[in-house]
Amino acid sequence: MRRTIKYVLAAALLSGTASAETIKIGVNEPLTGAFAASGTYVVNGAKIAADEINAKGGILGKKIELVIEDNKSNPTEAAAVAEKLITSDKTPVLMGAWGSSLTLAVMPKLTEYETPMLVETSSSGKITTSGNPYIFRISPPSSVEAAAFKNIVDKLNLKKVDFLVINNDWGRGTADDFGRMFKEKGIGVGLVETMDQGAQDMSAQLSKFKSSDSETIIVTTSVDQLTLIFKQAAALGLKKRIITTGGSQNPDQIIAQAGAAANGTMHLTTFLPWLPDKTPNPEATNYFISEWKKRGFDFAGCTESFRGYDGIRTVAAAIEKAGKAEPAAIKAAFWDVKVKGLNGDIVFHKSGPEGKESGQSQPNVYLIEIEDGKVGLKNL
């Protein structure tokens, strides 16, 4: 123990000199607060990618070093963390910031310091359509999720839906994009209810759904609140079909914590760790899952952590292509990367106003269903 402390101290003292020999990547994730579970998983996935790259000799002859900072699930903190990473740690590229509101808060800092950021999780449409050329996103915006869902709604026989969404850019954006798609399909949209990101009791909202004339509820939030919603819906005797969006459901955690209340729920997800051979890149998926298990992490986190893994691999590919660890070169190189991601090829397409386009990759979207405490791909 004492020896470890000595090494840590030595490392801390030497970090000033050591930095010249590593390439730093700033990681801006929520490790505390409402999204702590999800942010921690993403960071653990990112570490697997960094270790894998370093084991193969790093990039441009140097090891990569993740500078991880906690944005506390708070947009103000997220912006402050970005500033600290760029100005004090001198990271030439960032990955972050999990939530849409967090990412949107960071974006002006990217413009100010002309530093690119890979967005691994956020799904608000605004992120890639507001004309920020420093943004490169690998997660699907809610409009892409809605478009993917559009192809299967007929088979689900939806008539009228209600929404329960987290009261931020992510949730409200999802309600807008899905609502528009449902209206195009002639499906009725009833109540749109919101909940605060830290709220623990959603009984009032759920009681409203109980007496509405919709048969399906679309729910958008992260895993901890989903668990509470399923438990509270069961307690209220709410027997409507629940479909969740956003890809931050961690279905195995829901099964473990909500128990029988999770049965019959459906989830739009962007990764299939339960069926690695059905993913676009089985070899990489199997490697990632075995490494995840080897490190003793909870399997439930895979659906979240793969984005950190893919994100860091994409950032590393851009640095390699740039040939130097400088923000402008990395930003330009993002447009040329092609990474075999765990959920399809990562290639950036232009999105947003001309001349200031952001990069957007198009991942796959799957619908899964929880039945008898097990996850199954919903075959339609």
């Binding site: 702590a36 009261n167 901890d224």
Partner: protein, 290 residues
Amino acid sequence: MSEFLQHLVNTLVLGGTYALLGIGLTLIFGIMNVVNFTHGVLYTFGAYVMFIVVHQLGLNFFLALPVAVVAGWILGAVIELTLLRPLRGSDIDTTMLVMIGAWIAMQSGALWIWGGVAKSVATPFPEAPLVLGPVSVSWLRLFVLAAAGLLIVVTYLLINRTRLGCAMRATFQDEDTASLMGVNVDLIYTSTFAIGSSLAAAAGALLGPVYVISPQMGDLAAVKAFAIVILGGLGNITGAVIGGFILALAEELGAGYVSSGYRDAMGFLIIIAVLIFKPTGLFARSERIG
């Protein structure tokens, strides 16, 4: 109509838990006059004790509750002895700053020990709810309501019907006179803070299994506890109980019939109204000034 009935049942269940949060704080904030920022952390602490006893020690759920109450009592006594006793007599700002420091340190400690990923506690109650006509309610929440009711009655009797309660009220009305009457003032300070803390821990232990347990769970709970205490009048146990139910009703009906986005705002709108029109709280005792 059935929706309205369900909202009323929800109010009853939620109000019971709010009342429990309120009475612990009203003892410390209202009677001792300590702005207790550690109330939320003690709530979190109670929930984690529950988690440890049920999942890591593998003991019975019902046994875990008294363990959490005792653990909260001990932690409260330690806080009083180490932080508050040396500060007794100093101004309210100093005490408040120290309590904020204790809050941050304890919350970070919880994060360090248990991590940020939420935990859930298994309960022996059936998952299927109790259905009464158009309304349903989970057995666990009914148990919480009953336990909260019991704790509220016990606390009320303790303060108003026992020698200890009498000594507590005397001490915080006039410390010198109480001391001259033979009251051990030091002991009263410690036990009042410890009792308030054990009630916070009890609330956490009861509500942890209802929700999920995380290091930040106490923040919102503490804000609501302060609101309830202000609503009900400082130091008034009956007021805290009624305040808890009023806050729950405002939230339920606000979310149900006005806008769920402003759910948490509803309670605070009431607080603002109370502070404007009856600043001592709805149920404050008349007080002698000077």
